[in-house]
């Protein structure tokens, strides 16, 4: 278990319980279970307390937690017959974006998402979930295919943002993102987006211009990272707590603003402490959202999606 900075007191208690039990294993006469169980209870209460009312900055940390289930985990658990499709037919296959045909509850769909990787090797291979133009162009290709064959598209968003690199710029990062957003808006099939971790700026919105948008309870979605915002507006990257607060990047605030449609509950202590539970909850949410959109004609799906975005922000937080 990787503990976050604010979970340190929890780490101590859980560490102590673990130590006690290790001692008891070596020394058979010792009976520590009572004390250990007390520590467990204490840890459990503390965990509940910590996660009851997470500050926006803590939510950012949880959203980026390395042990959280990633796109690959969701695809493996929720879909059958997943058949990855690769490449943008132009330059390369971007491994930070995975996608392909799959069945969701036996219905064929197109699933597309950002994958961050879960160890050093896979993180480098996946470029930490930061897509290059090829990743977006692959997504455009898959969405186009879904459109032509009438397959619902499900996107799983988890990216710090589009990759800021020399080659990415040369190959038209901006254009690739703009065209992906445009493709989302042209899609005559249901488009459902779930933000499972980090929804980083333009790189995220290109996948999330959807009919229905859900967010995990402790995920974030923002125009800029709190660190980036702090260094620009506060001239001090250390002011990320204030920036996270001001940006209103939590699922709870975004629901109030009408930017997202639903929040998917995470187990106590975050998705990183109960991957299976979190994945199941996301599965249920996708099922419900698909149901809401079933039977709608392509024209209606396009029209509704556009109107949803045209109306967005007309109320502000006051609503």
């Amino acid at each position: 278990m990787n503990y976050l900075e604010f979970e340190k007191p929890l780490a101590e208690i859980e560490g102590k319980a673990e130590e006690l039990r290790a001692l008891a294993r070596k020394n058979e006469e010792m009976d520590v279970e009572k004390e250990a169980a007390a520590l467990d209870r204490k840890a459990d209460t503390l965990l509940r307390d910590l996660y009851k009312d997470l500050s926006p900055w803590r939510k950012c940390q949880v959203a980026r937690h390395p042990d959280r289930p990633h796109c690959k985990d969701y695809i493996e658990a929720l879909f059958t017959e997943y058949t990855p499709l690769a490449g943008d037919r132009n330059f390369a296959d971007d491994h930070s974006v995975m996608g392909g045909l799959a069945r969701f509850n036996d219905t064929p769909v197109m699933v597309i998402g950002h994958e961050k990787g879960n160890d050093t090797k896979s993180r480098i291979e996946r470029n930490f979930g930061m897509a290059r133009p090829e990743g977006y162009r692959k997504a455009i290709r898959l969405m186009d295919m879904a459109h032509r064959f009438g397959l619902p598209v499900i996107t799983l968003v988890d990216t710090p943002g589009a990759y800021p690199g020399k080659g990415a710029e040369e190959r038209g990062q901006s254009e690739a993102i703009a065209r992906t957003t445009q493709k989302c808006l042209e899609l005559g099939a249901p488009l459902i987006a779930v933000i499972i971790g980090e929804g980083g700026s333009g790189g995220a919105v290109a996948f999330a211009t959807a009919n229905r948008i859900a967010m995990l309870e402790h995920s974030i979605y923002s125009v800029i990272s709190p660190e980036g915002c702090a260094s620009i507006l506060w001239k001090d990257a250390e002011k990320m707590r204030e920036a996270a607060e001001a940006l209103r990047l939590t699922a709870q605030d975004l629901l109030k603003l009408g930017v997202i449609d639903r929040i998917v509950k995470e187990p106590v202590g975050g998705a990183q402490r109960g991957a299976r539970e979190a994945i199941d909850a996301v599965g249920k949410a996708i099922e419900a959202m698909l149901k809401e959109l079933s039977g709608k004609k392509p024209e209606a799906l396009i029209k509704d999606r556009r109107q949803k975005f045209l109306d967005m922000g007309s109320k502000g937080l006051a609503a």
Partner: protein, 325 residues
């Protein structure tokens, strides 16, 4: 710290600076250092007469030079909710807004107008970099949607001049939502079969580049304009190497296939007319002096118009050069 530095010194400073500000007759070209007289610079559309460096120009000054006789009608933009997030950094967002409004004399970072360019009816939108770095928030989104709707209603092409540091952080996620919103605006034009021309000016970056600025039928940029998604500093920090000379400048993007043309500001008007008239199936523009515009098109230029460019009523399209590059 104390009374002297908090009170006396600013007072003294303000006395001195007040004397300097009102008549700033000379501008130093940031590129070549030549001192340029304000009238001469304005006549040259804020392009350095000695090195051709393109400096910033306000939407109003640009419109005066662009529309026939400097005459245009502003298109009304629906008002967004003010400060939707109740955002506060070191300053409150509404205070920053008021500061920008006072400094520029404009309401927000985009101006939309309708009128004629060489008798070619158009709707034009221009982003104002001097207003909070031209940043895209709800208002700019509304302005682009209003521009597209107006263009569709009048069956006219839309020309958009982009200039922005990116999204307006003070509007948080709602500024990000302008990427899909403005994309819907571009689709409205597309479906109505109307041309959408983007003129990318210095600088066009971030979410603006990654939405409406890269979705034009024709992309024209002003020379040496910085056009990018991630800024050069961010990239240097990420890849830890120096970037090549001219990286992310207009000419570099032209070489990499992201633009159709890089055009000098003085030639822009003529080029827009040529392209628009071909795309809308109109005969070539009449050359030489044209009579004054029709009265119904003629509406008043806004009273607080920037003095930068003096409108010259009889200035129509200049004769075409024999060959084009």
């Amino acid at each position: 710290m104390n009374w002297i530095s908090n009170y006396v010194r600013p007072k003294i400073n303000s006395l001195f600076s007040r004397r300097e500000v009102p008549e700033n007759l000379w501008t130093k070209c940031p590129e070549c250092g030549t001192m340029l007289f304000h009238r001469e610079l304005a006549d040259n559309l804020n392009v350095c007469t000695s090195c051709d460096h393109h400096m910033g120009i306000t939407p109003r000054a640009r419109f005066h030079a662009l529309f026939d006789g400097g005459i245009f009608t502003e298109v009304k933009v629906p008002e967004p909710v003010i400060d939707p997030l109740q955002f506060r950094d070191q300053k409150k967002y509404p205070d920053r807004m008021r500061g920008a409004q006072k400094a520029t004399g404009e309401k927000e970072a985009m101006l939309v107008a309708e009128g004629e360019i060489a008798r070619t009816p158009v709707v034009v939108a221009a982003q104002d970099f001097s207003f909070m770095a031209g940043s895209m928030g709800m208002y700019v989104g509304n302005a682009i949607i209003a521009a597209a709707q107006r263009a569709v209603a009048l069956k006219r092409p839309l020309v958009l001049f982009s200039a922005a540091g990116g999204a307006r952080m003070q509007e948080g996620i709602l500024s990000l939502m302008q990427m899909p919103r403005t994309t819907v605006a571009v689709q409205m034009l597309k479906e109505a079969g109307l041309p959408y021309i983007v003129v990318l000016t210095h600088p066009t970056t971030g979410g603006v580049t990654a939405s409406y600025a890269m979705l034009g039928d024709v992309h024209i940029a002003e020379p040496n304009a910085l056009i990018c998604f991630a800024g050069p500093r961010v990239i240097e920090q990420t890849i830890r190497e120096k970037l090549p000379e001219g990286f992310q400048r207009a000419e570099y993007l032209l070489d990499h296939g992201m633009l159709d043309r890089v055009t000098h500001r003085k030639k822009l008007r003529e080029e827009l007319v040529t392209v628009l008239r071909m795309l809308t199936g109109q005969p070539p523009a009449v050359k030489g002096d044209l009579p004054a515009p029709k009265p119904e098109v003629a509406a008043m230029p806004a009273p607080e118009a920037a003095p930068a460019v003096v409108p010259e009523p009889a200035k129509a399209v200049e004769p075409k050069p024999a060959a084009k590059p």
